[in-house]
Each structure stands twice: as C-alpha cells, then as structure tokens.
C-alpha cells in the first residue's frame, strides 16, 4: 500500500493508526472503570461527574483542543508545572495528538461501557457475593466479563473517533507533518493547495478502507465474544 502513497501520505496514515492505537491503549482501563462507576457507583456529585465526562462529546472539538491548550500549554497551570519540573512540553507534540484524541474519545468509550454494565444482571452479582466473592472478585469474574462486548464496542468507537479527530488535534497538537499531521489533517492540507485533489482522493480511499477494516474486525470479535459469553450468537 505504501507504494501507492507518497511518503507524506504514508506517514499521515501510519501516524493516524499509531495515535489511534495509543489512544485506545490509554483509554482502556480508565474508560472501563469510569463506565462501571457511572453505571453502578453511588456517590455524591454523580450527575456532575457524568456531565463532565460527556462534555467533550457535545463541545466543539476546537473548544476541547483550546481548553487542553490552556491547561497544558506552556503558560497553562498543568503545562507550566510539567515544564518547570521535567522540562517537558506536551502541546504541539505527538503526545498532544494522542491526548486530544483520547479526551474526545473518552465519553464514547465510557458510554459504551456504562450501557453494557447496566445490562449485566445485578442478580448475578448478588449470587456471586453469596458464593463468597468479594466486590473486586465480583467485578473481575462477573461484571467485567459480561460487559466485555461494551468494552470492545467502546474501544472500537474510540479508535474510529481518534482516526477522524480533527478539531482538537489541530488546535492542541498543530499540523506538523510527520509529528502531528494525522490523516484528516493531511487530507485537509491537500484540499487547500492547488493540484492536491489526487492526493486527497487517495487519502479518502485509505480512510474508508481503514475504518471499514476496523469495524469489520470489531463485528467479528463481538460475535465471537457473545458466543463465549453464552449468548446465542
């Protein structure tokens, strides 16, 4: 496939996939735990927590990106600390692209897990407790395995969302070729320059193929999973 693409296009493709994979890796645990907490947790301020988690879903991504910049930019409260303590700057780096993707994908992941956990029959969890399973064991041996389809869906949604991420990335990570220029950003670039239509079309095709493959893989995995979990797949 690389032969069909120019080095700039190929680098945008791999960068996109890399960013999406890391985004999913970073989200897996916090996304699952947060989804479970919102489904089963009983704590003060749950409604507020729910709103905050879902905020990136409804905010324009550019706003999310700008807020990240305000927080993590050199002048920002967290960014300033990092800079001072470790001499690290996140904004406008590859990490910023991952972080921007992760933040906008987080609510999708959490929602999918939450819905799935809510579908797990709590009476099974009660039965597990009467069999001597501690709350942690109940979660690991009953709740988590039975909500795995939701976790999987969440991860795929996060992956797909990350592949398509534009606004937050360009605001927080910039549009640096080979560093933060993911597929949508490269595509946008090509549409802005005269004679870029050919490259843009190729990237569109690549985008469709990657998304298609991701969805197909998740469908197959979901089927298998549902069989393993005792459903009638």
């Amino acid at each position: 496939m690389t032969g069909l693409l120019t080095p700039q296009e190929a680098s945008a493709l791999w960068l996109s996939i890399e960013v999406a994979v890391w985004c999913v890796v970073f989200l897996a645990v916090p996304g699952t735990v947060t989804g479970w907490l919102l489904a089963r947790g009983q704590f003060r301020g749950k409604a507020v927590a729910e709103v905050i988690v879902h905020l990136p879903l409804v905010l324009p991504p550019v706003v999310t990106g700008y807020l990240l910049l305000l927080l993590l930019g050199r002048e920002g409260p967290i960014g300033g600390l990092l800079e001072g303590a470790f001499g690290v700057s996140v904004a406008f780096t590859w990490w910023a692209a991952v972080l921007a993707s992760a933040v906008v994908s987080f609510p999708l992941m959490v929602r999918a897990v939450k819905l799935s956990v809510e579908l797990v029959d709590q009476r099974l969890e009660h039965a597990a407790a009467t069999l001597g399973a501690s709350p942690l064991q109940v979660w690991l041996r009953v709740t988590l395995p039975l909500s795995l389809p939701g976790v999987l869906t969440g991860l795929v949604l996060a992956f797909a969302r990350s592949l398509g991420e534009f606004g937050a990335t360009i605001t927080f990570a910039g549009n640096i070729a080979g560093e933060t220029q993911t597929l949508p950003l490269a595509l946008y670039n090509f549409t802005q320059i005269p004679g870029g239509e050919g490259a843009a079309t190729r990237l569109v095709v690549v985008s469709v193929l990657v998304s298609f493959a991701a969805m197909l893989a998740s469908e197959l995995a979901a089927k298998r999973l549902s069989r393993m979990l005792g459903g009638k797949a």
Binding site: L124, A127, A128, A129, L131, G132, P135, V142, G230, K232
Partner: protein, 364 residues
C-alpha cells in the same frame, strides 16, 4: 441453630420477624407478599435490615446495636434463587467451581460428592444456556453447596418449574437434606412441596410471624393461616405392594424419622414406583370421611381405625387430628360434628377413597 430478631422496611412494606430454627430444614411459608423472600435476603446479606440481630451457630452476622452487619460474601450463607442465576459465561463446571475458593469454609463437601449426589456428571462440560429449568436448579444447588455454606437458603427454588419437574427435583433436595449436614431454610408458598422436605416451619403473613413450630400443631391453630391456604396431609411413606391389574398401590405411612407406623393406605395405582421405594403421600383433609364403625358394601377402599386426638374449629368447619399410627388430618363441617357427636378421645374409622390419595415421588 439460627436465631434472629429483625426489622426491615422496604418502601411501604414492613417486616418484623423473630424466631429460632434448629431443624435440618425449616420451612418459611406464607402467601406471596408475606415477606418470605425479604427475610431470606436479609439472612443472605442482600437486603439491609433497619435493626435487629442474626446469629448462625453462634456466629453473629447481624447485630445493628453493635454495628455488626457482615457483607454477603463474608457470611457463608449460600442461596439457591428462584431463577437459578447461573453465570452464562461459565460452563456447568465453571459455575460449580465458582465458590470453591472461598476460605474458611466449614464442613467442606467434595466436588465429586456433590456431582454424584445431584447427578451432574453428564452435564459438566455443557454451557448453561443448554440446561433445562430443572437441570439449572440442580446446578445452582450444587454450586451453593460447593461454596461451603454454614447455612443454605432456598428461595422458592421450584416456583418457576411446572408440577412434573418439581417432583423430579424434590428427591434431590431430600437427598441433600439427608446427606449434607448444613441447616437449610426453605421458602415456599406451596405446603405440599414444603411438607415433603420438613414439617418444621415459620408462617409469615403481611410482614408478621403468625406461627412457628411443627405443622401438626400449627395446622390446628386457625390464627396461623391467613389467605385460606390449601391445608394438606403430607406423610413420608414406603411402597409395600403394587398391583397394576387391581389398580392399587399399597403404602405404609412412616414417621419423619423413618420409623414404621403400621398405618397402611391403598392408593390408586401409580406407574414407575418400586416396592420399598420411599414416597410422599398427599391427601386433602376434606377427602377424609369419618364413621363410628367399619362400613360394609361401600366402594371406599381405606377404612382406617383411629382415635381423635385434637379438634380445632373455625368458621363452621372442624379440623380433627386423628391418630391412625401417624397423625391424620380430617376436615368435616360443624353439622357433622354435632350429628355424630365427635369429640376428642373418640374412636373413629377414617374413610378414604384410594383415588383421593396422591403418591409423590420421593427419594430414590
């Protein structure tokens, strides 16, 4: 010994129950909405009481005054629910092993022992979704036993099964009762089912205990029975003889301790029973007619002499406890009582049509 004194409030519903259970199996009986399941859920740690105490074999599980309320997983109280609640992502074997890792279990039961007791061998590798309702409940029972409980609660475990299946499961429950030394509390709204397991019970109605003790005593107290339940005679019995051509099966009533009573009944022939097999005999008190002497030239096959021990009257009806070797309940109208001059201490003959006697499959 299980001792409790508990108050529970769930929405509009108040439950206040106190008692002591010291039988191998204690029944909790009452109409639906009486609070039976709620009480069981409090025992199990799945519903919190507003106040009270619960001890099992001296171990304090709840003492709200001292702030003790053990979480469900530390109670060692096993539960078999009405819906089996098997884990769909484990095989039968995985379900059975789920509670095996619990520490501090007393009276450990071997895996193989439970498998053979409940005849689970052929289904070990199967996914639970392929099990029938009856099989599922056997697995649920096995799973609870294998978690080494010190108390086993059964919450209407057969309510979701049809009548035929119930009679297939009951022998397994009887086996567990006889083979496993774990006290059991069995909730049911079906006296016939309950009495095949035990005659010791707590009767609940509207969140209150209306009676507790032996069924034979409770049945003579009209204040115990709200909602007009179908009171029955249920006795363990042993098949003596079996004649298909005459359409008869002869059984001898046994005590719950397994001793002979000498009282023999002729019941309608029931296929599939073996001589010496243990069964349960069920007979409605209103199907027992009384006579002061044996009657000739009558189609009724059973004429059993006995003595009236106790009489209880309510609403124009009289419930009589008649000693025929085992205590047999007969219900007659007040009119009959007066006409025949029936009273305690009198000798009577109990007349029972063989077809009024139901033989229920017992322990194999």
């Amino acid at each position: 010994m299980i001792e409790f004194d508990l108050s529970v409030r769930r929405g509009e519903f108040d439950l206040r129950a106190a008692g002591q259970f010291d039988a191998a199996v204690t029944g909790v009986f009452g109409p639906s909405g009486a609070g039976k399941s709620t009480l069981l859920h409090v025992f199990a740690g799945l519903v919190r009481p507003t106040s009270g105490r619960l001890t099992v074999e001296g171990r304090v599980l709840i003492d709200t005054e001292r702030g003790v309320e053990l979480p469900a997983h530390q109670r060692h109280v096993g539960v078999v629910f009405q819906d089996a609640r098997l884990f769909p992502h484990y095989s039968v074997k995985g379900n059975l092993r789920f509670g095996r890792n619990r520490r501090g279990g007393k009276g450990e039961i071997a895996f193989d022992e439970v498998v053979s007791l409940l005849e689970l061998g052929p289904m070990l590798g199967r996914p639970v979704r392929t099990l029938s309702g009856g099989e599922g409940q056997r697995v649920a029972l096995g799973r609870a036993l294998l978690s080494s409980p010190r108390l086993l609660l059964l919450d209407e475990p057969m309510a979701a099964l049809d009548r035929g299946l119930k009679q297939q499961i009951l022998p397994f429950l009887q086996r567990v009762r006889d083979a496993v030394k774990i006290p059991m509390v069995y909730v049911s709204h079906d006296l016939r089912e309950l009495l095949q397991l035990t005659d010791r019970m707590l009767v609940l109605d509207g969140g209150h205990v209306t009676g507790s003790g032996r069924y034979g005593d409770l049945v003579l107290d009209p204040n115990v029975w709200a909602g007009d339940p179908e009171l029955v005679n249920v006795h363990p019995a042993r098949v003596q003889a079996h004649d298909e051509s005459l359409g008869l099966t002869r059984v001898e009533l046994m005590t719950r301790e397994g001793e002979h009573t000498g009282a023999v009944l002729r019941a309608g022939y029931r296929a599939g029973l073996l001589v010496e097999q243990r069964v349960s005999v069920s007979l409605r008190p209103e199907d027992v007619a009384l006579s002061l002497q044996p009657v000739d030239h009558i189609s009724i096959q059973n004429q059993i002499p006995g003595k009236i021990l106790r009489v209880s009257r309510y609403g124009g009806q009289a419930m009589l406890e008649i000693d025929v070797g085992a205590p047999l309940l007969a219900q007659v109208t007040e009119c009959t009582m007066e006409a025949m001059g029936l009273r305690e201490g009198m000798d009577v003959v109990c007349l029972v049509k063989s077809n009024a006697i139901r033989l229920l499959n017992g322990r194999g």
